[in-house]
Amino acid sequence: MIYLKDIQKSFNQQPVLKGINLKIGKGEVVTILGPSGSGKTTLLRCLNFLEKPDEGIVQVGDIQVKSKKATKREILSLRRQSAMVFQHYNLFAHKTVLENVMEGLIVTKKYKKAEAKRESELLLEKVGLGDKHNYFPSQLSGGQQQRVGIARALALNPEVILFDEPTSALDPELVGEVLSVIKAIAQEGITMVIVTHEMSFAKEVSDRVLFMDGGVIVEEGSPLEIFNAPKEERTRQFLNRISRDFSVSFLEERAN
């Protein structure tokens, strides 16, 4: 389904991914945890070649691409296997909510306009934005924009949806609405790879959790294994730090 072999990537001679091997099965929900700068975003972007790996093999669905010999045509077919939900939403700024969702259907799926519209309306209903069709992204809250981003990704009916910290640009009170939409689609059996710092969400939604640090996958396992009995010291430290930060900010909020 997804298969990565020895993915390496450097920026300015600085290695950021140091040989990532990974298999993800159909319908699996995998979350990636790890400190900032550990290469999570880069790994996700290598999956759809927004970043071209220096080395290694990327396979999504039936499309396998050898990084070094990747042609434009191969990259395009690889990209059409996946969809991405971005940290900063990246909605098409000049298109309405409805058009944002329709765009992929029309351009890459070759839907007729009326068909694309019908399909998109259903998806917007599903993410709770049935009443916002003609709004522009700039007229929506962050949470609403991100839900459009999710509908746009769902519309493509991809083999996998890649989420890069989908809630980390949101005001705290808007995080919940986005996470609950993601949870709902996770239950539909869509394959998902999610980079997140929302620990309780990761616990709840994942079939498997990866912990990355320094450009490698340090540890992986079920949420139970990773959160309750991490084997690696680095994982333990990271989880401790996160939960401490969480309780501190929680206490601060109570105090205010």
Partner: protein, 236 residues
Amino acid sequence: MTIDILFIWTAFKEIIKALPITLILTILPLLAGFIIGLAVALIRIYKVKFLCRVANGYVSFFRGTPIIMHIMLIYFGFPLLIDQISTKFDLGIQSNSIPIILFVLTALSLSAGAYLSEIFRSGIISVSNGQMEAAYSVGMNSFQAMTRIVLPQAIAQSIPNFTNIFIGFLHTSSIAFIVSQKEMTGAANIVASTNLKFLESFIAAGLIYWGLTIIAEGLSFLIEKKATAYNRGGVQ
């Protein structure tokens, strides 16, 4: 010397007859320049090998020299070139049978292309990278991402810049009168010298240019407001 206010109106009516030529000398070069400018901007942004150097040289030269120079160079240079090519290949074309306005249009188009390419370039660069990436992530190829996502935003944001270029070229078209094109400034000159009423004639011409500029600014404002409505935020 006294000023003959009534003659301003007489001159106005005479000069405005040359408006079509002025508009032709403004709009055609801008249309051609739009295509040249877009192509040059894309070549420079994508750093297309070899062509990129040509494009850099072209923009540097045409922005680095006065437009009147381009008209002169082409007006005097092209006939030589055409006649030589024509005798060499026995084409039977004579440069003096080519209407002068074509030389002027060529020169102005090349200038417009250079100026507009910089506007396209900054417009395209100002669209955030995330837009292109989102387009790729939904499976678009580079051409689709550029034409459907990036360019519409780049062009909408650049409307005030396009308007400045339009106004600049509207005024610049007046220098075509040095190679005897009867556009509005040329017409004003004729009206002035035949009636020996210079001030009145040029006041009339000035008023027409000013009026056209105000109309262009007004239209631009309306178009920009509509084209960038997506960017203004706030709930509907």
